[in-house]
């Protein structure tokens, strides 16, 4: 009973922690108790719950899922909803599914826990703590603390295969869960006679959509005594491996090894492939990118410090050059993605980091190359392989910040390896 009470009382976290950033409907309602009785009524036009649109706390994102098998658009909301229980949220799921199906506007609700409920459980007794601690994924809630501290045996990263997400250990204990997507922008084609008619090309990044198309993904995992890997295939030309090394000295970082190409252009559409890392960090539209590996510059969405900005390009206008690192932070932690080469990057959605990895375009952008950015080898588009390191650092912990800076240089100046065939025996060696 106590265990159920315990779970009940921390269920916001429990679900949030367990289901990462794609939380399901009931958590949205559970956050605001008074709404739990009233089913969420979705307005036909806006896709929002018009009674309390102002506090809806979710945003309507146009993410459209493309099922790579038969290229059919899936309505993801039904997937997210299909195996939910009705009891906690008292939301009439069937009605909601019907509404969403009719509405066909709300494609996906992202939810950020705007407030962290302080849990005021009386301290658990010894044997209760022991009972709870046998569960490998147990959370320990320290009544006096706001933060839910995840107890994980080694502070090595781990991941969830079913609902793919990565648990990046906090340097101060606990972890943050990050889900990831690969997506593509369709490139704009124009006659280059005016800025608003430019093609996306070697000098110009200009998508002709306002939201990227997100690939579906299928993941499998490999585990062993040195490294655990989560391998995800998005489509035949986009895949990645998430690597978490088990070694006690290889902690607090995750390696993403991505392989992209050859990008198909039979549909005569230029494509720009991006990686997206989604966390539930609240960064208020601010992010940091390094300029030429020197200082980190603060960037703010749709804003320039020097002049009043009106953006014609809501996506490209918020992209900045990333030489080694892009990061977002809240009042406690900094989530960084370290790149192994220069890439374009942005944070277009709260808690998200987006990096452009590979492009294949079909038109020149009239800035002088006189050639589309369509490099080929063997008459096929280039295959590109690279990697990102995900690091989480504690802004109040100097060692953690030094660790992050060293990781950045270690990523850039990686050990060089050379190999030699030999016939000598091990003893002679």
């Amino acid at each position: 009973k106590r265990k159920m009470d315990f779970y009940e009382s921390v269920n916001d976290y429990w679900k949030n922690v367990r289901e990462q950033s794609f939380v399901n409907i009931e958590t949205i309602d559970a956050m605001d108790k008074k709404d739990v009785e009233r089913p969420v009524k979705l307005n036909q036009d806006t896709g929002f719950d018009d009674e309390d649109e102002k506090e809806a706390k979710f945003e309507n994102t146009e993410k459209v899922f493309v099922n790579t098998d038969n290229d059919k658009y899936l309505d993801p909301t039904l997937d997210i909803l299909k195996d939910n229980k009705e009891d906690e949220a008292n939301v009439n799921i069937a009605e909601l599914q019907k509404l969403i199906k009719e509405s066909r506007i709300v494609k996906q609700m992202k939810h950020k826990p705007a407030v962290k409920p302080v849990v005021n459980l009386p301290p658990l007794s010894e044997d209760e703590m022991r009972m709870l601690s046998d569960d490998p994924m147990i959370v320990q809630v320290y009544p006096e603390a706001e933060e839910v501290v995840m107890r994980d045996q080694a502070s090595n990263a781990s991941f969830n295969v079913e609902n793919p997400a990565i648990y990046i250990p906090h340097p101060s204990g606990g972890f943050m869960s990050v889900s990831f997507d690969m997506a593509f922008y369709r490139a704009a084609i124009g006659d280059n006679r005016a800025p608003s008619r430019r093609s996306s090309g070697a000098y110009i990044f200009r998508p002709n959509v306002t939201k990227p198309f997100i690939y579906d993904k299928k993941c499998t995992s490999i585990s062993g005594s040195i490294v655990n890997e989560l391998r995800c295939v998005f489509t035949e030309y986009v895949s990645l491996s998430v690597r978490s090394y088990v070694h006690p000295l290889l902690v607090n970082w995750v390696e993403i090894d991505w392989v992209i190409g050859s990008i198909p252009i039979e549909d005569n559409i230029g494509k720009e492939i991006v990686a997206m890392y989604n966390s539930n960090m609240i960064n208020n539209g601010e992010f940091y990118t390094d300029s030429n590996g020197r200082q980190m510059l603060k960037r703010k969405l749709n804003y320039r410090p020097q002049w009043n900005l009106t953006l014609d390009e809501p996506i490209a206008g918020n992209y900045y050059p990333v030489t080694n690192k892009i990061s977002i932070e809240d009042d406690k932690y900094r989530f960084s993605v370290l790149t192994d080469r220069s890439e374009g990057g942005a944070s277009l959605t709260e808690g998200q980091i987006e990096l452009m990895l590979h492009r294949r375009l079909l038109e020149d952008d009239a800035f002088g190359v006189n050639e589309a950015l369509n490099e080929t080898a063997n008459d096929q588009g280039l295959n590109v392989r690279g990697n990102h390191w995900l690091v989480l650092s504690d802004l109040k912990n100097k060692d953690s910040l030094i660790y992050e800076r060293k990781k950045l240089l270690e990523h850039h100046l990686r050990p060089q390896m050379i190999f030699a065939d030999t016939q000598i025996s091990k003893e002679d060696y």
Binding site: A202, I222, V227, L249, L409, E410, F419, A420, T422
Partner: protein, 183 residues
């Protein structure tokens, strides 16, 4: 110094904004790649001589060292040798406590010996299909031999000795991933 000067002057050419950002025509990009890979290959010769010199207590050790295409998980030496050495160079000014090493190999049982003569733990991980199918990749490697090299000194080398375990029959290629089998 000629080899190192060659790499320096090539890197000088690569400071052009085209080389940095990719705003050049494809055939110019290919020429940059040609220049850079030739210059890097030359510089590896210098590293190889240094390692041979460090390894031979004024004897004549003359190993033929090769750089491998680790970014496409291919390495002629490790794929075809029953016994080979790996030399790891730490370019940083601080000790690296742990370096994950991934060596492209075929599916056999390997044994890795550290400089102090101890065997170190390894894991064989299948190379992702998407890498194996890269059209320009010419390699027979189907797996990566993974181990962790610890405590490599600043600007220092560390050599490991890798051998195929004697009584391992070369396994025909299997689609099933070994980890699952072992589990």
């Amino acid at each position: 110094m000629d080899a190192i000067d060659e790499l320096k002057s090539t890197m000088g050419v690569m400071q052009h904004h085209d080389a940095v950002t990719g705003t050049e025509k494809a055939h110019v990009a290919h020429d940059y790649e040609r220049m850079l890979s030739a210059a890097v290959a030359g510089a590896v010769e210098v590293t190889a001589e240094a390692v041979n010199k460090l390894m031979s207590n004024n004897g004549t050790v003359d190993f033929k060292w090769h750089r491998c295409m680790l970014n496409e998980s291919s390495c002629h030496v490790s794929e075809h040798s029953q016994r080979f050495m790996v030399s790891i160079y730490n370019p940083l000014a601080w000790k690296l406590d742990a370096i994950p090493v991934r060596i492209p190999v075929t599916e056999q049982k390997y044994r890795v010996t550290a400089p102090n003569g101890d065997y170190i733990e390894t894991q064989l991980v299948p190379i992702p299909k998407e890498v194996i199918e890269i059209p320009t990749r010419k390699s027979t490697a189907t797996h990566e031999l993974v181990f962790v090299a610890i405590k490599v000194k600043p600007l220092g080398y560390k050599n490991f000795f890798v051998e195929v375990e004697p009584n391992t029959v070369k396994r025909e290629k299997r689609s099933v991933n070994r980890e699952t089998k072992d589990d």
